[in-house]
Symmetry: C3
Subunit: 273 residues, 3 copies
């Protein structure tokens, strides 16, 4: 299944509009190109609605949100909904500030998302309407482990059902669910947390996968999560003892560029619960 999903990305080359933060935007663009998609960025209200219209999908990432980009997120999100384009939300830092929490919650009310991807603390904030995110990383107390996995799956499934979207909670173990089926994914490497923006890149990637597979948002999101983690594994094997997080960043994008649909199918490490 994942083989065909990735094949569709390579063949359709989905054009994805990203309203995203300026910290990791370049890596998001190169990741989109690496997977076979095509990126465009626009965050001025006057520009973004039109840009969304010529794209196939939209990726909204609230890191470094501001008074100019926030209304753009709402306007572009609504326009994408009108056009039937899949929209992905990355609620970066939801729970870390009122502005981020309120923006994420407001977007949930006014925009229909195909997939919401975040760490467990961010997703808990969306579920509860408030949170205690430690910056842009998951709170240690929140982390999904083998011990609390069933509980976390239950939480994700209920939230997905309530919001009518696919929820992707990523961390050491990833959970992707549409409220019915739930994928638990064990690809990836802990060193990915030492690179800024692997989460942002994954959200952009997810947007490309869902845009190229509009009828299968659950499987597309799960395939994107597996692909990102698998590239983290492949890239980690390539590290020499001089390499650190900067080279690792490049190697992960390189690995996505080289990844084939068959290798994704073979390397995807998941179970359904």
């Amino acid at each position: 299944m994942f083989e065909q999903i990735f094949e569709n990305v390579r063949q359709k080359s989905p054009l994805v509009h990203n309203i995203t933060n300026y910290v990791t935007v370049n890596d998001c663009a190169n990741m989109l190109l690496a997977c076979g998609g095509s990126p465009i960025m626009a965050d001025d209200p006057e520009d973004a609605v039109e840009i969304t219209s010529i794209c196939g999908g939209l990726n909204i990432n609230i890191g470094t949100l501001n008074q100019r980009s926030i209304p753009t997120m709402f306007a572009a999100g609504k326009r994408a909904n009108q056009l039937g384009h899949p929209v992905v939300l990355d609620p970066v830092g939801a729970g870390a500030s009122k502005l981020r929490t309120d923006t994420a919650l407001g977007l949930l009310e006014q925009v229909k998302f195909a997939v919401i991807r975040g760490n467990i603390s961010e997703i808990k904030t969306l579920a509860q309407g408030s949170g205690t995110t430690k910056g842009v990383d998951a709170d240690v107390a929140d982390q999904v482990t083998e011990d609390n996995l069933d509980e976390a799956v239950l939480f994700a499934r209920e939230l997905a059902r309530r919001l009518g979207t696919v929820i992707a909670i990523t961390g050491a173990i990833d959970i992707v669910t549409d409220g019915e089926r739930a994928f638990c994914i064990r690809n990836g490497h802990s060193m990915m947390a030492s690179i800024t923006g692997t989460g942002c890149q994954l959200s952009a990637l997810t947007a490309a996968f869902v845009t190229a597979n509009p009828d299968h948002p659950l499987e597309a999101a799960a395939a994107a999560v597996c692909a990102m983690g698998l590239c983290g594994e492949i890239a980690h094997r390539r590290l020499t003892d001089l390499d650190g997080n900067a080279s690792y960043r490049n190697y992960i994008i390189d690995a996505m560029y080289r990844l084939t649909p068959a290798k994704l199918e073979e390397g995807a490490n998941y179970e359904e619960r």
Copy 2:
């Protein structure tokens, strides 16, 4: 000729003011340093006019343009004109939205450009006053090939004459013309399209080359296009079967850092039509 032009860049170390997008801005800065120039970025209206004044050249790139940066582009462009500094325009995504098209056309009316560098779809938009650019990449229907090259050269030459500027249309085959002479350049590698911002980097590079060679904007722009393409070739030969677009991005900038004027002269692959 190109040897001397590049030698001037290395010796004069032109300081280039860039008003550019936040997607590829870091790569533009490192590319400018790689060629021997020096970058500075400023896009607040209050800051930018003064920054332009202390620089030798100005590079205006309309990707991720916004309500704050647009008036800055006009103000800095006019100031650079008053000072006799060369100004380069990169009309990223002209044709993809009304705001981008209108901004590019407005800039053409109010600012005198030494060089305009874009893909064929963006340049056609400038010529026609409207367009159908697919995002930030050239429309397939527009692409310059060996079959339509003469026609494309004619188009570029007429536009250059009409606008009184050097036009650089880049793609598989590049065309650089001032309305009289026209260079057709065959340096480069198709994989460069898999990296975000090679066009933006080339525009920044062009600004450095033209700033260091103010009396020869045509040859300076052609030399910059050859240099960028040649670095794409050199970097491509360096790729291992683990490397992808992220490493390729680094290797191209590395190649520019290592490129000598003599090697540019030797590797430049062009004809005049």
Copy 3:
């Protein structure tokens, strides 16, 4: 001493809020992760004060400052002061424009800084209230050499005493002083000037070091300067004859990721004057 300081960074993993420019922001984030810290970026006035509150330290960098980010710098700086968080100032381009100079001087009046890190031209601008910075690089006429080192140390010491802060002037020879003790540091490599943002990265790094060692801002800043320079040396030894400034950029961050407290102690090259 530096061994323990760096050990504290690795163990405490300080969360640093950065209000910084969009040119080098990604490298700053990866450098913070490389040293063991954790980065968060926020520059909207409504967002930033709250984000500062959940962090341990604040890094203010005025490159690409704008009408939105300037008030944020003041508000977040004051909030960090109230909370007793160390604040680092990087006065990028002070002296190059009135807006940059005035913003830096205004910040000095309203915010108490633990460390101010800049090149000699920027720091002279702060001392004199005006300057002639050539873009974002130090003016050649200003540069600190072995010949004028004593004079430069005297200048730095007086300024540190007057402003009640640690002053870090970085260049070929670095000076770090709190007005009493002064470290002269000879780590680093001249090729670091060919990479955009090594100064910005160092300021972010300094913020992490000072945040993890709040009672020793002088030694923490000096350790950060040594660490950055040492990584520049280690990374330079790794360069092949194909590598240029782009790979060098990655290798420096890689070297910080791999650097141990013991190796910093061993490789730090400084004297006190």
